[in-house]
Symmetry: C2
Subunit: 369 residues, 2 copies
Amino acid sequence: MSEVFADRRGRLRDRCAAAGTAAVLVSRPANVRYLAGAAPPGAVLLLGPGAEDALLCPRAPTGDPVEGHLDDGLRTAVLPAGGVDPAVAAAERARAGGAGSLAVEEHHLTVARHRALAAAAPALTVTDLGTAVEQQRVVKDEDEIAALRIAAEITDQALGELLESILVGRTERHLALELERRLVDHGADGPAFPTCVAAGPNSGLPGHRPSDRRVEEGDFLSVSLGASYRGYRCEIGRTFVIGTSPADWQIELYDLVFAAQRAGREALVPGAAYREVDRAARQILDGAGYGENLAPRTGHGVGLEIGEDPQLAPAAMGKLDACVPVTVEPGVHLPGRGGVRIDDTLVVRQEADGGPELLTITTKELLAL
Amino acid sequence: MSEVFADRRGRLRDRCAAAGTAAVLVSRPANVRYLAGAAPPGAVLLLGPGAEDALLCPRAPTGDPVEGHLDDGLRTAVLPAGGVDPAVAAAERARAGGAGSLAVEEHHLTVARHRALAAAAPALTVTDLGTAVEQQRVVKDEDEIAALRIAAEITDQALGELLESILVGRTERHLALELERRLVDHGADGPAFPTCVAAGPNSGLPGHRPSDRRVEEGDFLSVSLGASYRGYRCEIGRTFVIGTSPADWQIELYDLVFAAQRAGREALVPGAAYREVDRAARQILDGAGYGENLAPRTGHGVGLEIGEDPQLAPAAMGKLDACVPVTVEPGVHLPGRGGVRIDDTLVVRQEADGGPELLTITTKELLAL
């Protein structure tokens, strides 16, 4: 495992060297974690040539020393107290090491930090690294996929237990908290994102904040949750009916969203354009007259972040590769009535390898609970 | 209540006009919430003159319209789909409205967003608003303090219930989750910050992430938690001993930290320098030989953010005003043995008004649980 991070740093360095950049400063936390295997709060990663590669950390609150090296030999340095910005310290090291230019993440550094960094090392040409690290993160290695697989198992377990409990009369907020507790019980670092439980008229709303609405007979109940395991985040979404039997409109809406979600899943092949996957799911909902208020994307990449690239959306540019984990999560919400959302995490695989690998295996039958 | 936000915006506008700035763009979420009373994810606030004041929001995931006005008449606009950055849209509005300059939060906007904004409105001079809104937020009005008071009541209730339950044998992680559930039970929006439960050798470590360490007889157990209520966040920290009676070293260390915390609380008078409050607490720990590994600050402001200004630290510049809520939270951690942290949220008040108002009233006696 310890060579994984050094290898990733090597690939980034090669890419930057080819683009003519000397040193590289990575500040976005998920990118730091990807390249260094750890991301203490506020830490930044400096890659040579010039200065030695180093993970620069702000002083720990207790002053405990963290000087030393990570498993793979990466140098770590805890900065002295007094609030020196690690990004500024990195620029000084790069200059002292003789680097002529430093590529930074302009989509993450604030204007104020960027200015302080440039002022601290005026001899350095500061350029934009852009989203080079994010792009490198899109295709996952098998260790990363293994972590996602465990995250999905934990998620399925937590959801499965909830389904065995009594739901009527409980609030969205309490059900969400219980799901998060169960995620941790089963070994998650924590929830991958704020757990969404949406009952009755709230069902099917993506990103709904759990409220004091209680679950009632006849409700649609949609839940969206995911475990984070070793930093890797997965996502599942299901919609259930509360009571003995669903109403006709509920069955119809469910079947429609299910068909859209299946079409999206089936479109996950290496080489497929992101927008084609989106279209496969979207056109089914559109054809049924629900085109107006659909979410801007029907899926997205997952990994160290929820919602990372690729985006499965009408205007997205790019094509799927094998070993890219994504969600497929179309949904329809009818204002005042509720709705349906069905969401899986899958890994794109070659057809010869069996096609898309479904990580979240909780049933997608319409359960009446 | 609805005039409160318009009044805050008016004060900011007056301050900026005096500094020669025309329009103002506020992007930092807590600042947006402070001035608009709401902060949908990604929303920014544009204040004229030039363009009409407006809260610009990215398109909601479901496409539900949010066009209209907030309670106090503030115009809201949901941007069309397609990923237009609300900050860029705001710059275009400011220019179209005839503003010559736009002050932005350079400590919050990324380099990439700042560049896009400047490119979209090249006729506009883009200046730095600095931390003008943060400074305006330091002194709270009575509505804000009332929200903090309720947050503290909720926090005391959640902690009080935990103390009545059996603790030995349970993990830090489960105790932290239970505290967070109880916060929500009692009406919190959620936890104000990640709840910290630290047992045995972990006790007294600020920011410790709850682990699978189980609570054992003889442990120090330190907990740090807080409720968020209507966006306002408070903080409490207590340390207990598990078992029938504390050891001598535990009593000594507890008494020392208690004395330091009391000295800090007693130093909270309007006009006291931030660093004097810090010194009052710090010198007691220092005098007992624990000066080396103390946290860089012994307290901080609270409000819409945990850890907002003022900072109670050796190098902090400034003096306390009345109606500033702060924490006082010295602690000592002995590596391998554990430690003590005692933390209250108080509001600075004139002596004639009874001196500092203690919001978190859970006992600070050393309880053996």
